[in-house]
Amino acid sequence: MFVLDTITHRLKAGCATMTYPDGPAPALPDRHGGALRVDGAKCAEGCTACVSVCPTEAIAREAGKPVALDLGRCLFCGECVAACPSKAIIQTRDHRLAVRRREDLVLGAPGQEELRLGAALDAQMKKLLGRSLRLRQVSAGGCGACEADINVLGTIGWDLGRFGIQYVASPRHADGLLITGPVTKAMELALKKTWDAVPGPKIAIAVGACAISGGPFVGHAETCQGADSVVPIDLYIPGCPPHPITILDGLLRIIGRLEGKPAGDAPAGKVTAG
C-alpha cells in the first residue's frame, strides 16, 4: 500500500533537513581541503614550485614579491599545496569562501593570507529584500556541476526554502541572478538581456571558478572570462564546483542570515546531507 508505506517511511526516517545554520555545518569530505591559506612571507627566495603546477595559472610570483594566489581562478585541485616546499600554501578545511569584492580572492601578501569573507548587503538593500531572496539562475557555459550543486540546495537535506530563498522561473520575478559558467560569447547577449529583465534594485552572484574568472577556460576567445565582464557582481563564490555548503554560506552571508550564528564545522563525518 503506497499511502501507508510512505507515511510509515516518513515516520521512521524523521526529519532529513540539517540543523545548520543553528547547528554545525556538514563537514567537508576529508580530501576536500576547503579554503586555502597563503602565507607569502614563508616563500623561499626565488621559489616558483607552485606556479608551474597550477592548471589555471591562478598563481603568480613576480621577482622580489610574495606569491599571489587568485582563489577566483582556483580549482582547488591541491597540486600547489603538494608542490610547496615551505608550507606557504595550506588547506584550512574551512567551507566559507564567499567574498564581496573580486580583489578579496587574491591571497599571499602580508595581511592578505586568508580570504576576507563577504559582509551582508547594506541595511537599505536588506530592508528592500525583506526576509526573502528570489534568484534567477543563468548558466552561461557552465558544465552542469555548479548547476547541480545549486540545485541540490533545494532538496530535503538542505531545504533552501526555509531561508526564504527560492530559484524562480522568470527574471522578472527575481531579486537577482545566480550566474554559472565563464559566459560564452554565445550566451553574452542572453545573459545581458536576462540581467536587464530583472527589476532593480538587484544583485548578481557568480558561482564557481568559471563565472568568477573563466576558470579552466580562461583566455579562450570563445568566452568572456567570467560574469563580471557583463554584469556587476555582488558576491563571488569560488570552487569547481563550490561544495553546496559553500554556496549556502554565501547566500546566507549576503542576506545577513549568518549574523550571530556559530561558524564552526561539524567534526568530520558527524552530519551528512545529500
Binding site: 569530505p29 576529508d30 580549482l75 558544465c143 532538496t155 542572453a190
Partner: protein, 506 residues
C-alpha cells in the same frame, strides 16, 4: 594509395600509426564507410583534419586548405572498432555520407562548419555551434505551414536551473509535429584549445567538458595518452576508475528518476531521489574530495586511493543509499498514476534508434544491446562487467526502467569490486606520446558512449583531438521522441534523455 577495401581494425584504448590507417579518395571513402555502417557498423566519430599538419587545425570557413576526413566505426556485435581516412582534398565539397547513413548528419554539419567543406546533398545543412556575434548562428528553422500551425520557441535561458539551449516546436494545437533543437550556447572552445596540446589546463577542461560526466571524459582522455605512450594505467588505477564511473552513473540515474517523478508531480520519489543523488555524489567525494570526481583521474593513473578503511566506509554507506534508492523506486513503479504518465509517451522505435545511432540508456531503452563496457571492454572492464540493461518499448517508461536496472547492476558491480581490490600502485610516470599516431578511447559514461580520438604530430603533440559526448548522438533521439506528442510532455521526455548541452557544444 592504399588499395585496402576495408577499414583498419583497432581495439578500444589502443593506437595505430597514422600511415597504417587505410586511405581512399573521398568519394570512395564515403562509400566504404557507408558500406561498413550498412553492415552493422555504428559511427562513433567523423571529423576533418587539416592538411598539411602545420596548418591551423580549426581555422573556420575562410582560408582552410586541404583536409582529410577520418571515420571511427564500431562493430558492436563483433567487439571491434575500425578506422579509415580519406586522402587530402581541397575541393570544397564531397558527396554526403548522410544520404547513405543518417548517423552522420550532425558530424557532417560539424565538418562543414569547421572547414567549410560541403557534404553535397545534406538535407539540413546549418551550423552546429558556430556563433555569429554574441549568439549562435542558428540559421533558418524548419517550419511547418498551415492555418492550425503555431510555433513555440523556448530558451536559451530556461525556467529551471539548467544549461542553455534553444528549442523550436512546430505545433498543431497541443501536438508537436516537429521539434528542432538548436545548440551552441555552451561552446567554450575545448576542441580548438587542444591543438598542439596537451596543455596545462587540458586535464581540467576534460574534467569539465560535461560536468556530470567528469569521470567518463577524464578516463577517456587519460586512456588516450596512455595508448599514445604504448602503455596502460596500473591495474589498481583502472579499478579505481571503474568504481568512480559507476558512482557517477548511480548519482545521475538516481537524480534522473527523481526528476522524472517531479515532472509528473510524484513528490515522494522526487524528494527522496534528490537527496540520494547527493549521497552518491558524496561517495565520489569520499574517494577524491570532489563530488564530481575532479582531481581523481590523471594520465598514467589516479591521484587518490581507496584504502581498506575507506573502502569499508564506502561499502557501508553504499548499502544504505542503495536501500533508500530501492524504496524510492518501488514507490515510483507501484504508482499507477506514474505508469500512466510514462507509458507510450515519447516512443523511439528500435529502427529509429539504430538509424540515428543512439547510444547509452536511450538506445538500450529502445531494445538495442549496446554498451561500451560490454562491447568494447578496456581498462578494468576486461576483468569485470555488469550485465547490459535493456528494456523494450522506447518510451519514457523504458528509459526510466533502464536507469533503475542500471542502478541495481552498478550497485552489485560496486559491491563485488570494492570488496576485491587489486594490489599495486595507482600512478605511473607516463612515457611521451608516440609521434604521428592515432589513438581511440571509448568509455561508457552514464549517458552512453564517450568517444575520444587523438592524432599526434611529428613531435607527439596533438595535431587533432576529437571528443564526442553521448549527447551528440542522442539529441536527435529527443527530437524524434517528441513527434506527435503533447507539448506538455516535453519536460518528461527531456528528463528521460537528460542530455548534456556543454558536452555537445564543447
Amino acid at each position: 594509395m592504399n588499395a585496402a577495401e576495408t577499414l583498419a581494425p583497432i581495439a578500444n584504448a589502443t593506437s595505430i600509426p597514422w600511415t597504417e590507417v587505410p586511405e581512399w579518395p573521398v568519394v570512395d571513402f564515403v562509400r566504404v564507410v557507408a558500406d561498413a555502417l550498412a553492415h552493422n557498423g555504428r559511427l562513433c566519430s567523423w571529423f576533418g583534419i587539416a592538411e598539411p599538419a602545420t596548418g591551423p587545425a580549426l581555422s573556420g570557413v575562410e582560408g582552410a586548405g586541404a583536409i582529410r576526413l577520418v571515420a571511427v566505426v564500431a562493430f558492436d556485435a563483433e567487439n571491434t572498432l575500425a578506422v579509415g581516412r580519406s586522402t587530402p582534398f581541397s575541393e570544397k565539397k564531397y558527396p554526403a555520407l548522410t544520404l547513405l547513413s543518417h548517423q552522420a548528419h550532425l558530424f557532417e554539419r560539424e565538418v562543414w562548419e569547421q572547414y567549410g567543406v560541403e557534404p553535397e546533398g545534406h538535407p539540413w545543412l546549418k551550423p552546429v555551434r558556430r556563433t555569429a556575434g554574441n549568439a549562435p548562428a542558428n540559421g533558418e528553422f524548419f517550419r511547418v505551414d498551415g492555418g492550425e500551425i503555431h510555433e513555440v520557441a523556448v530558451g536559451p535561458v530556461h525556467a529551471g536551473v539548467i544549461e542553455p539551449g534553444h528549442f523550436r516546436f512546430q505545433c498543431a494545437g497541443e501536438e508537436v509535429i516537429h521539434l528542432e533543437i538548436a545548440l551552441g550556447y555552451q561552446h567554450r572552445g575545448i576542441e580548438e584549445a587542444l591543438a598542439g596540446g596537451p596543455h596545462r589546463a587540458t586535464m581540467a577542461q576534460m574534467e569539465t567538458a560535461s560536468g556530470d560526466t567528469t569521470i567518463g571524459h577524464s578516463t577517456a582522455y587519460a586512456t588516450i595518452l596512455e595508448a599514445l605512450a604504448g602503455t596502460e594505467a596500473p591495474l589498481r588505477a583502472q579499478w579505481l576508475r571503474a568504481i568512480a564511473l559507476e558512482l557517477e552513473r548511480l548519482a545521475c540515474h538516481t537524480g534522473d528518476l527523481g526528476a522524472l517523478a517531479g515532472d509528473v508531480a510524484f513528490l515522494p520519489t522526487a524528494s527522496a531521489c534528490g537527496k540520494i543523488r547527493g549521497d552518491f555524489l558524496n561517495l565520489t567525494a569520499l574517494l577524491c574530495g570532489n563530488r564530481f570526481g575532479r582531481g581523481l583521474v590523471r594520465p598514467g593513473g589516479c591521484r587518490h586511493d581507496l584504502e581498506p578503511e575507506r573502502a569499508k566506509t564506502m561499502l557501508a554507506r553504499l548499502e544504505t543509499h542503495l536501500a533508500d534508492a530501492e524504496q524510492a523506486a518501488t514507490w515510483l513503479w507501484d504508482a499507477a498514476s506514474v505508469r500512466a504518465r510514462f507509458e507510450n509517451v515519447g516512443c523511439v522505435f528500435p529502427q529509429q534508434a539504430a538509424e540515428v545511432g543512439l547510444v547509452g540508456p536511450a538506445a538500450r531503452a529502445s531494445g538495442l544491446v549496446r554498451d561500451v563496457r560490454y562491447d568494447h571492454p578496456a581498462g578494468w572492464h576486461r576483468f569485470a562487467q555488469a550485465p547490459v540493461a535493456v528494456w523494450s518499448g522506447g518510451d519514457v517508461l523504458a528509459r526510466a526502467r533502464v536507469r533503475w536496472l542500471e542502478i541495481q547492476r552498478s550497485g552489485q558491480f560496486l559491491r563485488e569490486q570494492i570488496a576485491t581490490p587489486p594490489e599495486g600502485g595507482i600512478r605511473d610516470e607516463l612515457a611521451p606520446a608516440a609521434p604521428d599516431t592515432l589513438a581511440v578511447a571509448l568509455v561508457e559514461g552514464w549517458r552512453g558512449e564517450v568517444c575520444h580520438v587523438a592524432l599526434t604530430d611529428a613531435d607527439g603533440r596533438f595535431r587533432r583531438y576529437k571528443g564526442t559526448d553521448p549527447s551528440f548522438h542522442n539529441w536527435t533521439g529527443l527530437a524524434l521522441a517528441l513527434r506527435n506528442q503533447a507539448i506538455s510532455d516535453f519536460p518528461i521526455n527531456n528528463k528521460s534523455f537528460n542530455l548534456s548541452y556543454c558536452g555537445f557544444d564543447l
